[in-house]
């Protein structure tokens, strides 16, 4: 009896979509916090003057910089969308299994669409 798996047993369980969205919310939160440090450093670079600004821009325009920037923007919009759902949950609604799964899919679609529209805006300006 002692060998029965404990729940949630992360190596055995296949996480349901709702759990994946939930842990992604937390992971994006931590990632966003790290990016926030860089955002403050960027503001400091603008304050310091053109040389520091150009150096910061150079880093942001490198492949790694672009990857990080777009990853951060996606994380920001995902966290925004799922955070909005947390606020709905706080009112005591949408806890039924059907709406949990349906809204999880809506959230993923919405965060991708929002990121794509930011990308399109940035292309046409």
């Amino acid at each position: 009896m002692n060998e029965r798996p404990l729940s949630p047993h992360l190596q055995v369980y296949r996480l349901p979509l709702t759990a994946l969205v939930s842990i992604t919310h937390r992971a994006t939160g931590v990632f966003l916090s790290l990016g926030l440090i860089l955002l403050v450093l960027f503001l400091m670079a603008v304050a310091q003057g053109p040389e520091a600004f150009d150096a910061a821009q150079g880093l942001l325009r490198s492949i790694l910089g672009r990857l990080f920037l777009w990853g951060w923007i996606y994380a920001l919009l995902f966290h925004l969308v799922h955070g909005f759902r947390h606020l709905i949950w706080d009112t005591g609604h949408t806890f039924e299994r059907d709406s949990l799964n349906r809204l999880a899919i809506y959230e993923i679609v919405a965060s991708v669409l929002l990121t794509a529209s930011v990308f399109l805006f940035s292309l046409f300006v």
Binding site: G29, V30, S33, L36, H86, L87, V118
Partner: protein, 132 residues
């Protein structure tokens, strides 16, 4: 009426009487950050990718841009501090690491808030006038 056992009282592990306060501050900052984040995403995507230093300074020095940007950054730092605190509480079980982590998150957050406020004031009131 105090329902704590004398041992629990001596260890100081009773209710800290501030649990809902943390939760509530996280919600209030979340509500405020919702429109600010949409504004930030839109504003950044509308800035030309090739914008130079002078152009970025001019943009940041516009009153609505500076106040919205500073609100976004400061509220984000505060919201992040509350969130990281929960992450540490959930995953770090070693007492001294936990204390160090909490202290670190608070001190770094305070420093970032000071740095971003100073940077933006400097950009608006000093650089904004020379580039105006």
């Amino acid at each position: 009426m105090n329902y704590q056992t004398p041992l629990a009282r001596a260890r100081g592990l009773g209710s800290a009487r501030e649990g809902s306060h943390h939760w509530w501050r996280q919600r209030v900052t979340a509500v405020a950050l919702f429109p600010l984040t949409l504004w930030f995403a839109l504003a950044v995507s509308l800035l030309p990718a090739a914008a130079g230093h002078a152009e970025v300074v001019r943009w940041m020095a516009k009153p609505w841009n500076s106040i919205l940007l500073l609100s976004f950054v400061l509220l984000s730092i505060y919201h992040a501090m509350l969130g990281l605190q929960v992450v540490i509480e959930d995953y770090v079980h070693h007492d001294s690491l936990k204390l160090g982590g909490m202290l670190g998150v608070r001190l770094v957050s305070a420093f970032l808030a000071l740095a971003s406020t100073f940077a933006l004031l400097f950009i608006v009131f000093v650089l904004g006038h020379t580039h105006g």
